[in-house]
């Protein structure tokens, strides 16, 4: 083989690899760098926002831990996000069994498209529509209403997670279990359900994070009384730049990253 014919593909190879490196670098710069800036400024020793910090310290963190209103926000976030996670799984789980059922192939497809619908509508338009509906139902400002609204937003993502996991579980497992003497319910719960546990946990986390990070649904539908953390951050930035926000953001990022990692590990286990 001549050296010429070997070198050509190598050059193309290198070009592609270089391009890939540039793309990755752009992702790092534009995606991660702002986060890094926030993290760095959170360790500033000053009472105001600055980057890069001239004096390092834990001022923001000590202010944060001495302001009780932030803790109320965190507590409210959990009070919202946990029921949203549970409700979302409770809606999505039976739905994916219907969607993937071989007996409902055509209706199943329709169900899937419909259930993924909210993903296609711009969130702001969706929330405005919900707001109008909530006004009629006198649900604006109610905790329960907000839990339902956020679950509605999280259900499509949970369905995507669960349906892809369920499709990977061979149907034969259930049939095998039934041929060995298990009832239909026992086969569905004990075999398919058991395989689905990591995906159920992952979809709970996804819904939990959706609620935890949500500021839009809350701003429109929460009224003046429901104030989770994400909304507090939002509101504090509206009045002026409170440097404490950098500390909150840093902690929030650490928390979210941990949950996402757990979710990813759980999802991988299903396959």
């Amino acid at each position: 083989m001549t050296t010429m014919s070997r070198r050509r593909p190598q050059i193309a190879d290198r070009l592609v690899r270089l391009l890939a490196k540039i793309v990755v670098a752009a992702i790092v710069v534009f995606g991660i760098l702002p986060a890094v800036m926030v993290v760095l400024s959170s360790f500033s020793g000053e009472q105001f926002l600055e980057f890069p910090p001239r004096k390092w310290g834990f001022t923001q963190y000590s202010t944060l831990f001495h302001t009780s209103s932030w803790f109320h926000g965190v507590a409210t976030s959990f009070e919202l996000a946990i029921p949203v996670g549970i409700l979302t799984v409770a809606i999505a789980l039976p739905a994916v069994f219907a969607i993937t059922s071989p007996h409902l192939s055509r209706i199943g497809h329709l169900l899937e498209v419909v259930s993924l619908g909210p993903l296609l509508i711009p969130v702001s338009a969706y929330v405005v529509a919900l707001y109008l509906a909530f006004l009629r139902l006198h649900l604006v400002g109610s905790f329960i209403g907000l839990i339902f609204a956020q679950s509605l937003g999280a259900v499509p993502i949970a369905i995507l997670v669960l349906a892809s996991a369920l499709r990977r579980i061979p149907r034969n497992l259930e049939l095998a279990s039934m041929s060995l003497g298990a009832s239909r319910l026992r086969a569905a719960v004990g075999v398919t359900g058991r395989q689905l546990v990591p995906a159920i946990a992952a979809s709970f986390i996804v819904a939990f994070l959706f609620s935890f990070d949500d500021a839009i649904f809350v701003t429109f539908l929460g009224g003046p009384s429901v104030n989770p953390l994400a909304r507090e951050i939002f509101d504090s930035l509206r009045v002026g730049v409170d440097p404490v926000v950098t500390a909150i953001s840093t902690l929030l990022m650490a928390f979210t990253a941990t949950l996402i990692t757990v979710g990813a590990v759980l999802r991988r286990r299903t396959s």
Binding site: P170, N172, L173, L175, A176, S177, M178, S179, L180, G181, A182, S183, R184, R186, V191, R194, Q195
Partner: protein, 377 residues
């Protein structure tokens, strides 16, 4: 007490009665007839191979027997009891799936013991039975492994042990060897034969592979478009095909049309073929209806050499010459419409070039005439 509950000791009235009876079984999916009017009896200890191309309804038939589908009409009798509408769990039928369908979250031992647990065997009995089954399939010491840590052949053994552990009345195997490499497939084939002899298992197995069907089936049932087109022992089907489809499936013979046929006796006929009158044997009397065909075995014809008195010399154009190791497969056009496929010793075919003229020698004693049902529809 029903007969199914005393399965270990068959009641007097079940002796001599088939274990499984399919009566006019039909299954439609929408407007598609997947299984059409299948009647079949299976006796204790017998093995049946359901053979057919994909889409022939053989897997649907298996699913009906297992209870994964309900029949549209007809009945399934297991040990004299109508189980057509019973759930799979109530049927006591073991199933081995094509891709094994082992429970990935359970160990080998727990997989094998699953059926015992579902049938509420006492714990101590369960442990002994699981050990016994794992030894039977040759997986000693692998009880604590998970399915993903096993090879394909080993997974197949686990599936077999799991399906047989709870002592089902009947074992169903759905394309059990399709996913395995050729070497392991042959090994598993003899394993299944050994286990069957040892446990005297009654079984039905589905396959599209005729060699597998002949190796594992006491009887072979050939399906096409959801219908039984032929049934019989491997020897019957191989040497006396009743339809051109069955003959084509085993491809042991060339089926050739004859120009004229005169019945001499119950076992002989005189046929006119390629302008020659030949007296040939017929194993079954040639029936009045149906078409007479001449069977020319694929293995038997020789290429070139001296033509003996008992032989017929067939001249023709060589269309193909495939080297297969011991033998070469020749395709020869002996007349305008007739192709003969012949497997001759490889050394004879070495010099024959495609497109040239060759002479095949066929021993007249190997030719037979049969009546073929006219293709229906």
């Amino acid at each position: 007490m029903t007969t199914a509950e005393t399965a270990a000791q068959p009641a007097a009235d079940t002796i001599g009665r088939p274990i499984l009876e399919l009566e006019a079984l039909c299954k439609q999916f929408g407007r598609v007839n997947a299984v059409r009017d299948v009647n079949l009896d299976l006796y204790d200890g017998e093995s049946i191979a359901l053979l057919g191309p994909s889409g022939s309804g053989k897997s649907t038939l298996l699913a009906l027997i297992a209870g994964f589908h309900l029949p549209s009409s007809g009945r399934i009798m297991l040990r004299g009891e109508d189980v057509s509408r019973l759930s799979p769990a109530a049927r006591k039928i073991g199933v081995v799936f094509q891709n094994y369908a082992l429970f990935p979250h359970l160990t080998v031992a727990a997989n094998v013991g699953y059926g015992l647990k579902m049938h509420r065997w006492p714990k101590a009995d369960r442990r002994t039975r699981v050990e016994e089954m794992i030894d039977l399939v040759g997986l000693e010491g692998l009880g604590d492994r998970y399915p993903r840590q096993l090879s394909g052949g080993q997974q197949q053994r686990v599936a077999l042990a799991r399906a047989l552990a709870f002592k089902p009345d009947l074992l169903l195997l759905d394309e059990p060897l399709a996913a395995l490499d050729r070497e392991i497939r042959l090994q598993m084939q003899s394993e299944i034969r050994r286990i069957r002899r040892q446990l005297k298992t009654t079984l039905i197995h589905v396959t599209h592979d005729r060699e597998e069907a002949m190796a594992l089936g006491d009887r072979i049932v050939i399906l096409r478009d959801g219908e039984v087109v032929a049934a019989g022992t491997p020897t019957d089907l191989y040497s006396q095909p009743k339809s051109s489809f069955a003959a084509g499936f085993f491809s042991a013979f060339n089926l050739l049309g004859v120009e004229d046929c005169r019945v001499i006796s119950e076992t002989a006929a005189c046929v006119r073929w390629l302008g020659r009158d030949i007296e040939v044997a017929c194993d079954t009397p040639l029936a009045g209806s149906g078409e007479v065909r001449l069977l020319v075995p694929r293995s038997g014809p020789r290429l070139g050499g001296r033509v003996a008195r008992s032989e017929l010399a067939l001249q023709g154009e060589l269309l193909d010459n495939v080297y297969l190791g011991d033998v070469a497969e020749l395709t020869v056009r002996v007349s305008a419409g007739d192709l003969i496929v012949a497997r001759v010793p490889a050394e004879e075919a070495g010099g024959a070039s495609v497109g040239g003229s060759v002479t095949l020698r066929v021993d007249v004693a190997t030719l037979r005439a049969i009546t073929i049902d006219r293709p229906s529809g």
